[in-house]
Amino acid sequence: MSAYTCPFCDSQSDGAGSGCPFCGAPVNITLRRTASGWLEMPPMADMTRIQCGQSSVQIEGAYVPVADFKLADGDGVYFAHHELLWKDQGVSVQLSSLKGGWKRLMAGLPLRMLTATGPGRIAFSRDAAGETLAIPLRPGHTVDVRENIFMVATRAVQYDFFDSQVWFQTKDGDETETHYPAGWLLDRFSASGEPGLLLIHAHGNAFQRVLAQGESILVKPSGFLFKDTTVKMSLHFERPSKGFTIWRWGERYLWLRLTGPGKVAVQSAYGHTHDPGGRVVGCSSATERQW
């Protein structure tokens, strides 16, 4: 009988081990929820092991964790080539091209994925301090992930990508420039026939919350990490009150509005969102507020 529901991945288990068998989150901890409702995603304990079918993965290290896979004969994982840290000689690596090559090239995304097939060991890590998050995908479960966050997924997880539909245009002289604050493309991962495991790397710390139907929250666009497919994204512009400060024309705050229902997650270390200022001449669905 399943007595324990993991608050982070919603999987059910007997809760007997030190970590959730599906996502590795520690079991015997006090949940850390901020007064504003964000649930801190706890770092996996060093050397946490997650079983995925006949294969398993061990998470090693604390600052920049390594995902160390032990692949069973015939089992496979796929990943972008720059994620690879080391591998046994016996693990074969194959290349697979992705559709939409030109669009991916323009969006700064990898054009190809590599597939590693067992038996043997292969390990992955990112070149930034943060947390490795394991997202177990049950059949029928789909998650949307910010671009360049994906680390590695088991072969049972299907990969796709789509336009984020979050953009705005500014004009400088005769030049019109289009900006994608949440990335041009979003990665979409799903499981259909059998369950799979998706690993992503959050920069800094990660926090998640569940938005109710119609509930929305504004986040820094580059802080967005992943969301349920039911969560909608749009832009929100804010212009501060002038007061005693003289703001340049066109200066504004730029937010990503996430609207429920569904789960959303953010990361605490994020890149700068480039907004050159100037007049917005076009945008995707957006709201605006002048303080």
Partner: protein
């Protein structure tokens, strides 16, 4: 614990009368080693304010996200370092250039200056990235190769040079550059301190055993470990394909890797 009751540090091999911490490398002695199923051992995570000694000098490691190594130098004893790794020093600590022979460092992509500081006094070092301090006490006869820009400080008794990684492929594709820092304890022991980016893992390869690494992850190795660039061809079928470059490390000897590495471009 009486004088005959000693604990051997599993990191540096020194014997310690203190059951909690190795006096030679600062490694905690009362915590279990963390070893992955694949055989990588995590470098010991030094506790904040850990202190250890080398010669008549001492080091204290401060902080844990971007740790600082603070050195108290005895009169006449010295450490050398890349000039940009120095965080602060007492103004009584004199500095001079460390004498280096060989090709001009600036032409090799290495820091132009290696600086020598002598005691008495205090001087502190840090790197500008999240990571771990790796303390490597070196017995006489030990020779270590270290990737460029990872060395934090070394005691004056350790000889310093830089070596060319053999093989044209290393130069063009290996991504580890033509040169690595080489530290040698010739007649007397000494101390070498590195900064590993992210987390650091170590394993010992048996003679002839090998493993393939992302070249940017290599942190240090015994001089006995051979390093060679290896190009792996990846095909997508008819006329399609590319390749990726890995470093093959072949034992015998110890290798250390860092989990936050500088990725080196492949053909894509």
């Amino acid at each position: 614990m009486d004088e005959f009751d000693r604990i051997q540090c599993r990191w540096c091999g020194a014997q310690s009368a203190d059951p909690k911490q190795c006096p030679t490398c600062g490694a905690p002695l009362n915590t279990a080693d963390l070893v992955s199923e694949s055989g990588w051992r995590e470098a010991p995570r030094l506790r904040d304010m850990s202190e250890f000694r080398f010669g008549n000098c001492s080091c204290q490691v401060e902080g844990d996200i971007v740790p600082v190594v603070e050195t108290t130098l005895a009169a006449g004893e010295g450490v050398y370092f890349e000039h940009h790794a120095m965080l602060w020093k007492q103004d009584t600590v004199p500095m001079s250039l460390y004498p280096i022979t060989g090709p001009k460092r600036s032409l090799l992509g290495l820091p132009h200056l290696v600086t020598l500081a002598r005691g008495p006094g205090r001087i502190a070092f840090s790197r500008d990235a999240t990571g771990e301090i790796i303390v490597l006490p070196m017995a006489a006869g030990i020779e270590l190769d270290v990737r460029e820009h990872a060395f934090l400080l070394a005691s004056e008794s350790i000889a310093y040079s830089y070596v060319r990684v053999k093989g044209l492929a290393n130069i063009l594709h290996g991504g580890n550059g033509m040169w690595m820092d080489r530290f040698t304890a010739k007649k007397s022991p000494g101390l070498l301190v590195l900064h590993g980016f992210g987390n650091v893992f170590v394993r010992t390869l048996a003679s002839g055993e090998s493993i393939q690494l992302e070249p940017g992850s290599m942190l240090f190795k015994d001089a006995t470990v051979q390093m060679a660039a290896e190009k792996i061809k990846l095909s997508t079928g008819f006329l399609g394909g590319t390749s990726m470059n890995l470093a093959r490390m072949t034992g015998p000897g110890r290798i250390g890797i860092q989990s936050m590495y500088h990725h080196h471009a492949s053909d894509e």
